[in-house]
Symmetry: C2
Subunit: 341 residues, 2 copies
DNA sequence: AGAGATTGCTTAACCGGATAAGGGAACCTG
DNA sequence: CAGGTTCCCTTATCCGGTTAAGCAATCTCT
């Protein structure tokens, strides 16, 4: 009881394998009558093209690769990745491509993975995330001549095709908004300092604070966990010149920070305003709900996937700039108590 | 500049393709000297076996499938799935298998997907999650004769191999703990009522409440979002005979519930005790930190993957019962104020 | 030393499709 | 009615590996 092949269909239809191949692929070379017979038999016996056999004829693998390089517990807490994956797949499945996903420990392992996947013909291309400064992956995938889309700013993607959103603009908007509310001391609790987008956000933050002549612009780097977010918040709020607003690089740290503030009997937003990066349901269920930088992450993923499909199809694509994150104001931000009448 | 094949190696080594195949697969039939030469050449030119060609010879696809059937926003908020995936992959990559992941809209689409993946020889097996009552997927994958592991209780997995943990025991432990603290009115804010594990938890909840002769055991079903969790909590707490403890089916709803309680100026745990199902960093960053039912979810996934690998290898595996969730008590639970001296 | 076994390689065939080239019959054209 | 097209289907070959079977040369045993 093996799975049926075109040879089985050919036998039953009394024609050659080739006629079947033509018929099932909509190629000319068979009469409509024969084609109908063949298609009917194929459906009846439940034939599916063997993807391996197709791939062997130089066809594409019809799947793309994605490697995630963060520990399980952190990945779990980051709605970003699941939403991104979901968006990628919306686009992929529309073009009946599959996604090969792997969680890796480090870049060495990730690079090995790409070599293997590409070398074995398992994937037609890949999406790179979490770009680092002078990222070793860029040169390697470039040398593999594998179609790749980098989710991240062009400044770090080298010769690879980037899909990005303007984080600097979002940072600027946020700081300007807080300054307009009357905040003079704004801190930023950031993610991993090695990531390109962290650096870009840091820079935009420092620049905007300088432009507006704010009093200080402390930046603390963390690993994105609520724990480190809480610790950093505690330290900032215990200092003599504590900030009146903190911008967090993700929502889990923002929620942790909110808890710390409440623990210290600080009023949010009276004593402390809080802004979260990347809006998620989480931001809305806490009290007060968090002002957040919202993006349509599934759409972001879909754009990356679409760009990759174009690359795979051989088109030349310069890259794609997605919409910048929008500041969604909620209860966690307001004028600082000190500036009130 | 195509990728090198064993024919290229054969040419350079001055032997036949077959000798190369034997040499590279550790098969007998070539001298050690020849083998060394061939291996050296293979490494030099960076040869990788073409997975399609291998698969065509009846070999396995060396990948397994996983379909997730929840909207992007909910998936993103559920640390469960990312941790599960991460655990599955730890086991898979140890056996150099890949994971094909797809987010689907409904069971029909999921079933189509399995037919396609299996029919095309893309996967060697699959892991089924979120089992429903009288789930149509069970019969279909059974008829496909595809190796499948179901993550869920044996009562719903039919003839398929289950990997599960004893949710009933966890519910019982929780209710007994709350009753011991003095709670008489305990409510449960549950997930989707169609899911098998929801039904099992509901039943265990009702039974334990009855055994302990508690006053009421309200159960509200939701879609796992913080929104619905908040709304359900608000309704429960506004009722005349409001519960003194609520057990939530996930942590995002528990956090939402906590916020609602604080909004209503209720003291947690004095006026309301809160228990979350599935511990995540989130439970620990809010104030008070949430008492939660903790499981090692990556390990759960790894067990499922290992069981599936055994099935694929043709072994007969009865199933695997993982450890039940452990109650981790934190600040969100305590004796109800009414029962205090 | 001759029969038999072992070693080390070969050729041939196969997996399930795609594709190039070929060929017979019908049909059209001048 | 020869010659050219078109239609519809065939045979042959290929993709990159695996596997079975064959066959010299060498080794082993009596």
């Amino acid at each position: 009881m093996k799975r049926p092949t075109i040879a089985d269909i050919a036998r039953r239809a009394g024609v050659s394998k080739v006629a079947v191949s033509y018929a099932l692929n909509g190629q000319p070379g068979v009469s409509e009558a024969t084609r109908a017979t063949i298609v009917a038999i194929a459906e009846e016996i439940g034939w599916r093209p063997n993807s391996a056999a197709r791939a062997l004829n130089g066809a594409r693998a019809r799947s793309i690769g994605l490697a995630l390089c963060r520990p399980a517990r952190i990945l779990g807490m980051e709605p970003f990745f699941m939403e991104l994956i979901s968006g990628i797949q919306d686009e992929l499945s529309a073009q009946s491509h599959a996604l090969m996903l792997q969680v890796v420990r480090d870049h060495t392992e990730e690079i090995d993975l790409y070599r293997r996947w590409w070398g074995e013909g398992r994937i037609d291309g890949a999406i790179l995330v979490d770009l680092h400064l002078s990222d070793p992956r860029v040169a390697v995938v470039e040398s593999l001549r594998m179609p790749v889309v980098v989710i991240g700013h062009p400044s770090g993607s080298g010769p690879l095709t980037p899909v990005w959103s303007d984080d600097s603009a979002a940072v600027r908007e946020t700081v300007q908004y807080l300054a307009a509310l009357g905040h003079r001391r704004i801190a930023r609790i950031a993610g991993l300092p090695k990531l390109v987008h962290t650096v870009l956000r840091d820079r935009a933050f420092a620049e905007t604070c300088a432009e507006l002549a704010l009093d200080g612009h402390v930046v603390v780097h963390t690993d994105y966990t609520g724990e480190q977010g809480a610790r950093a918040t505690r330290r900032l709020l215990s200092a003599p010149d504590r900030p009146s607003a903190i911008v967090y690089d993700n929502d889990i740290m923002a929620v942790a920070g909110l808890s710390v503030a409440q623990e210290l009997r600080l009023d949010v937003p009276g004593d402390l305003s809080i802004v979260a990066w990347d809006d998620s349901p989480l931001s809305q269920v806490v009290r007060p709900p968090l002002t957040a930088l919202s993006r349509d992450i599934p759409a972001y993923g879909a754009h990356a996937a679409r760009t990759l499909m174009s690359l795979i199809a051989g088109e030349h694509v310069p890259g794609f700039e997605d919409a910048a994150a929008q500041l969604t104001t909620r209860g966690s931000t307001g004028a600082p108590a000190s500036s009130r009448p």
